[in-house]
Symmetry: D2
Subunit: 337 residues, 4 copies
């Protein structure tokens, strides 16, 4: 942590900074510049110390953090790549894992048809929402427990592990008893009660990025899950920007940035970012080329009849065509699907 | 809702849009332009119908919503201004209500000293956090129930009603039994389980704006609370932008936009937006001049020793000076404090 | 400038950083932490040295700038407040200067009527665009030289100094020969050829903020004008964010941030930010309360007939009412209009 | 264009909208809903009519544009893909064109070494800046005319066509006499004087996206160039967002969105977006997979000694390795390099 003193800060003001730092167990090194005094505070835990503690002291101009505030999710903490397994599926290995299925579970036939279609095309995990967080209280909120039961039934019939969202701390136990992977959605990335509970689940967690959260905040949220002992897959799903031709702007750079900063597997959801089925294939191929370990894609047996997000869902035939293309792209970067 | 057909869309494609709309009970009017066919869908509930239902149909170029997705929070629903009362305090009237106190309740002396100082300077509601949502799992998480008890004690001693945050659905009952106003924080604005539970509380709710949510999304979230029968105060606290000289950019235009679109009272939190005590007075005065019904300001008896957010807290003497200035600004716009 | 080395960086890598810094005349102080080596580079000109020079060296993790890249615009360079005069008007003093008039000069009658109306209401400078930068090549581009001549004529008739925009380096001389204040628009804030030419003009410059530029970039652009010897007034006019209820989100915090970081006068344009006349009064009052030294407001004798930006223009009667209100707000913060 | 009237708007107010529309030659269709009157305005030129003309009328709630404001750049205007040729290079065909070279031309040896290296690796166009727009007036501004002469010399020696930036309207003629492709930079995307002049040049133009401009604004800016008769290549180079781990967030969705909305070729600049050489390969591969027609990549013979942007420049060996990888990715999507 670097504390920049104001021009003309007094010796006493500098001394107060030094004293405060030493009281927190930090090493202190003074840099007496010609124009400015700069105080470097060193120690293994400076990432966890709030900068305000120093910024508020008299004579301080600014405080700059050098260490990142996250720890367990960082590549410095664990240099090798983490792999997350659910059933016989391994996320983070050489095989790129495609998770596909409808946004919301609507009924058994819809889910079964979707599952059979995506499995045939090469998807390895079935997605489907039973609990749906909706921006309006007047919208369809999901089948809830009945949806979970359908997911379990279709898993049994198809052999595909299931990823599904949990939206409330009290439901973690229930959802974990049906799911193979818990999904925490974008709007809950900083719902710390949910993170703590999900961290204690036996199901690994797919942590979607908050649509306006930095990568640093995302990895710090992952620390909540890792601190409780769970495994985490990160899912980039688009960020909010000024551009209005898409729902969210997919942050493709997040893939290499995460690969550099973290050991966690990274998947990409092109469907929620694009908001329109016609843009999904290009973004999906880009994600694979950029190094993503998996994809989360919405597929509906009949998008025109979907209760939720029909516009961003692929039909089974569109998905099948996309999977063929993705296999070639995966091979071009030394992976397979 | 306006459905724009693609250039060259067939009669059958237009007919399918019309049929779908009629099946939902909507009035339909066709506009056969020279270049484009445009279909207008009319009805009192089009704000609650997802645009995807039409956007996904063949031959459709775009779907534009004319009605807003929120209803209960809108000024069309209730033309007059709503007022929210807690104890003997009325929010939304001619008096501008200042709520002040520490970010986090740390101990009895800190809270009591803060309460006495802000009451003396003219604040009418005491703020103080017992449950703290923190970005890092390694940060101070609040005194929780012990903090609520201290708030209740200091309320008894000072006569000030208390606003405090609730972060988890299961805690709504507990927090409501101690608080006069529930606060829902920025990161929970779209935590629908929390909104639904808080909507059923007997405490009115201060709903902070999600730091990357539009005003439309904010008012739609307020509908969750209103639909359960509770009262709502909206609190603008800064939005995430590219500007890095402040924590969040306070969206001053939100005040007149909300006054135009909604009947709900609007308050402003300059402390979390600015992130630095030196910027709080200018933003607070701007908020009052723009028409805010109240302010939420962080004050700590000794900011240098604060466990959380010390840099954005005013000292009692800074707060007293600011309140004197605010009284004059309030009078200049026909209000008082 | 602070150079953070990677964990495990070699002695040679640290030495290369030190050597490079010394070759540039910088003082170097090494901080050998337990986990990390951090190198502090000190000198009066580090704000002007690109961070890349060090970031590109082997073993370097990150480079953080402590000194700001701007110099002449900074309050450290000139502690007192600068005042800018045009005619008998002084910007940056105790009087708040209101500049008002139509977005575009359309014809003599329109300009004259606007000028008379705004002067009567208390405006001290007449605004009016002769050269109009338009997003579409098919839109009205302004009267150009004929517009300048009308501005000069109306100035003579009303005695009001004139502010008008220059959009091209080659026009600086022409526009300067008619105007009292040159305006550089938001889209030209980083048009360095224009800045350099305008810096050499005898007219002071109103430099609007680029709608997606940080305050640091804005002050660095002001350095271009100041380096050539000209005076500068900064004009906040709203930034691009995700919020879609206004054209641009007025960054009210920019006023106190600029007052802290720079000696230059600061004015606010509520019209371009809001994009709607009904929002202009609240934002204008907020700007005055926050400490702005002036306002730039669009007024059209008949907004319904305006060729450009009619929706954000006030009518003369709306402007007159607003000026009465602004006078009271100005007094409440120790200023006058 | 859709005009939504306020609830309770009078017959006279509706009639005024209709009359205004007819006076502009538009077709009008009235939709008298139960709650709202909605007026549809139809005609081939509604994209060029400002919405303000109607929004300002009494009784109008909102005006929504259905037609896009750009015309010549749209795929509706020209359904087939445009190709742009410079020398023997065709941009927009099956071959993906890689343009590479140093950010700034520094001296003959640097430029020559870069050119030889990138040509050998498969680049088809040499990039190099002679005029450099810099955020600070104290930074290196480029070799200007001497830089152009070096570019021409190296083109002669290597046979590679040259793309270089023009920053000022008066320099278009000069730069065109040396360059094969003119580049207009991000900060000049809405510099209309420059666009108009460059539109008249015989060199095709690479138009970089303004870093905070929407795709609609970008295509409208392209209309300035097309209206003068020139050819245009669009270059996505990252947009400004809240994310701070990269200089700019590359908007990968822009590639498929542009392919849908426009007939113009699209290239991607991963170097300026990433700001760090280690991120360039992943973004470059993603761009190719997403359907880009070319890449613009910074390569410096010795990035550690670069005067400008060394951190984002690839070394010749890194570039050679990347080109090998890109060739495989290009083939995986049915293209070649």
């Amino acid at each position: 942590m670097i504390v920049e003193m104001k021009t003309g800060a007094s010796k006493e003001e500098v001394a107060a900074v030094v004293e405060k730092a030493r009281s927190l167990g930090l090493d202190v090194q003074l840099n007496l510049g010609t124009d400015k005094t700069v105080v470097a505070l060193l120690g293994s835990n400076t990432g966890q110390i709030p900068t305000d503690i120093f910024a508020v002291l008299p004579g301080v101009e600014s405080v700059t953090r050098i260490m990142k505030p996250y720890k367990l999710a960082s590549r410095e903490f664990k240099p090798g790549d983490s792999k997350v397994t659910c059933g016989d599926v391994e996320i983070g290995g050489k095989r790129i894992i495609v998770m596909a299925g409808p946004c919301a579970v609507e009924n058994e036939k819809q889910l079964f048809d979707a599952a059979v279609a995506v499995r045939k095309a090469g998807a390895r995990v079935l997605r489907g929402g039973a609990f749906k967080p909706r921006t309006s209280p007047f919208s369809f909120q999901g089948l809830r427990k009945a949806g979970l039961e359908l997911l379990a039934k279709v898993r049994k019939e198809t052999g595909m592990p299931v990823v599904t969202e949990v939206v409330e701390p009290k439901d973690v136990k229930l959802v974990s008893s049906y799911a193979d992977l818990l999904q925490i959605g974008s709007r809950n990335m900083q719902n710390y009660a949910l993170l703590t509970n999900a961290g204690r689940s036996s199901c690994p967690v797919v942590l979607k990025r908050g649509f306006s959260c930095t990568i640093t905040e995302w990895l710090t949220a992952a620390d909540y899950l890792l601190a409780e002992g769970n495994s985490v897959v990160l899912c980039e799903r688009g960020i909010r920007t000024f551009e209005d031709s898409v729902r969210f702007s997919l942050d493709i750079s997040a893939v290499p940035v995460l690969k550099k900063s973290s050991h966690l597997p990274v998947i990409v959801d092109p469907s929620h970012a694009a908001g329109h089925y016609s843009l999904v294939p290009a973004i999906a191929k880009a994600a694979v080329a950029a190094g993503a370990d998996g994809l989360l894609i919405e597929v509906h047996p009949n998008p025109k009849e979907a209760l939720v997000d029909g516009l961003q869902s692929l039909s089974p035939s569109d998905f099948t065509r996309l999977m063929k293309e993705l296999k070639v792209v995966a091979e071009s970067v030394g992976r397979y699907i």
